[in-house]
């Protein structure tokens, strides 16, 4: 009996867990291998599509010269600053409009009109008004991030089960307790969906902003490399954006796992 349980809970299980951890990386690894093979075998013009190895070597070189860390840090600074400002603005507006009908009547129509303007179409206006400095790029990220967080915060708060709010009131909760114990936790899953989506918008906006109007950052590195037909660096920048996007998504996922662990529980017990 013990042997059976050992064999079923021992090696096979650990292999199963490892396999599940590795599976998401299978397709990227296969694509990189095919890419490397195509470059090595001469199936593609290596000047137009350098091998992954050449891209990595370029990355190491740029890291050693200090150019890569400098540009990554400036991009991270712009992304996080814009995300924090836009996220806070979207959250506060969503909160106000979700909790107060007067606030909703006052702000929502205006926000909906502004939301429907593609924020990247504001780039010429932002460059004219704010130049190509940090404020311009951070402002663009802020605008891009604000609306998804606003929409999800507002929707999350207004769709909290009214029966739970009624229960809270009947149990004597104050307005503040009602918010902290029922409304906010009830809205949190939807708010975090907004955060995850906004992280994607954050990188997209920053790439475009840095490519069009910048003299630093990963986007600038890419557009500058394009001028000199430095395809290794162009591809390196694309890979860095992909990695930064993946890291952002992992952070958002970790945040969801931390705050919403109750959602993963389930399976009613027998009475």
């Amino acid at each position: 009996m013990d042997q059976t349980s050992e064999s079923s809970a021992g090696k096979p299980r650990s292999f199963h867990v490892n396999w599940h951890n590795l599976l998401p990386w299978l397709i990227p690894v296969i694509l990189i291998l095919i890419w490397q093979l195509a470059a090595t075998a001469g199936w593609v013009n290596s000047k137009l599509l350098p091998s992954p190895l050449a891209v990595v070597q370029d990355g190491v070189r740029l890291w050693q010269t200090g150019e890569l860390p400098k540009n990554i840090s400036i991009s991270l600074y712009r992304a996080t600053t814009g995300f924090v400002i836009g996220g806070l603005a979207g959250f506060v507006l969503g909160l106000a409009n979700g909790l107060s009908k007067i606030s909703w009547l006052l702000f929502d129509s205006t926000i909906q009109m502004l939301r429907n303007i593609p924020h990247l179409s504001l780039i010429p206006l932002v460059i004219i008004l704010l130049g190509i400095g940090e404020t311009a790029k951070i402002s663009l990220v802020t605008i891009g991030v604000m609306f998804p967080i606003y929409i999800n915060t507002f929707h999350g708060i207004s769709s909290v089960d009214p029966n739970l709010i009624e229960m809270g009131k009947s149990y004597g909760l104050t307005k503040r307790q009602l918010f902290t114990k029922i409304i906010f936790p009830g809205a949190l899953p939807t708010i975090l969906v907004g955060v995850r989506y906004a992280l994607g918008v954050m990188w997209t906006t920053l790439i475009v902003a840095e490519t069009i109007s910048s003299n630093s950052g990963i986007g600038y590195m890419a557009s500058n490399a394009q001028e000199f037909m430095d395809m290794e660096t162009v591809l390196l920048c694309i890979v860095i954006y992909a990695l930064l996007g993946k890291v952002s998504d992992l952070i958002a996922k970790a945040l969801e796992d931390l705050c919403l662990d109750w959602q993963t529980k389930g399976g009613a017990a027998n009475d």
Partner: protein
């Protein structure tokens, strides 16, 4: 006669043109277990919502024994907070220093000891209702309002919960109002059964709490006849309010 815990006098409730309640009067005496029984849409839940002060009557008065009467509602759907553990669901509305200890004691009283860190989604239907009951009992209420609390349970769990709730209410001498459409449940659990039909309290009879199954069946049968009788046959002499 002791002062009623709650007394309803000539209550009317109207939603637009719809008369949900018409001239309803009754009271709840201390320690009494009263069941309001009737078909869906008859006005039972509206009465409970008025007593719980979740809504206001269109006309009539509701008097409470004490202006600060502690009333708790156990809702049909439990209304548990899925993001809180069992322990936090019980203690979330309490603010005293010994709240955790009291919450654990209350969970033990309803048979949920050992489930403190469990989330509601991990509990069975019966356990969820026990948790909802524990939450209601946590405030040491003087009036407990049960809004069809066992409607979603299977027959066996339902029967267990009926005797469990009766036992707990008796032990703390708790004034209780049960809303149900199950005549057997009303007859078995209550000291007094009131039939609510088309917005009126049309019939009242002593319940058969703690009595023989035959007596329970007789009371249930009597109540059922009143519920199913055409409106014009409702006994005017036994009409309340």
């Amino acid at each position: 006669m002791t002062k009623a815990v709650v007394k309803l006098s000539h209550i009317y409730k109207q939603y637009g043109d719809n008369h949900a309640l018409r001239d309803v009067s009754f009271d709840l005496q201390p320690g009494e277990f009263v069941a309001l029984v009737g078909m869906s849409g008859g006005g039972k839940s509206t009465l409970l919502r008025l007593i719980a002060q979740l809504e206001q009557p269109t006309a009539g008065t509701i008097e409470y024994a004490d202006a600060n009467l502690v009333t708790r509602v156990m809702f049909q759907d439990g209304r548990l907070l899925p993001w809180m553990t069992t322990l936090n669901n019980v203690s979330f509305a309490a603010h005293d220093a010994k709240v955790q200890a009291r919450a654990k004691k209350t969970l033990t009283a309803v048979g949920l000891a050992g489930f403190e860190e469990t989330y509601p989604t991990e509990l069975s239907g019966g356990q969820k209702q026990r948790l909802a009951l524990a939450r209601a009992l946590m405030a040491d209420p003087e009036l407990l309002l049960l809004d069809e609390p066992l409607g979603a349970l299977d027959a066996l769990t339902r029967r267990n919960m009926q005797s469990f709730i009766t036992k707990i209410c008796d032990a703390s001498h708790l004034t209780t109002l049960l809303i149900t459409h199950d005549v057997d449940e009303a007859a078995r659990m209550a000291n007094r059964v009131i039939v609510v039909k088309n917005g009126r309290a049309v019939f009242e009879t002593p319940g058969a709490k703690g009595e023989s199954p035959e007596r329970v069946a007789r009371v249930a049968d009597e109540v059922l006849k009143v519920i199913l009788a055409p409106d014009d046959q409702a006994k005017e002499g036994e009409r309340l309010g």
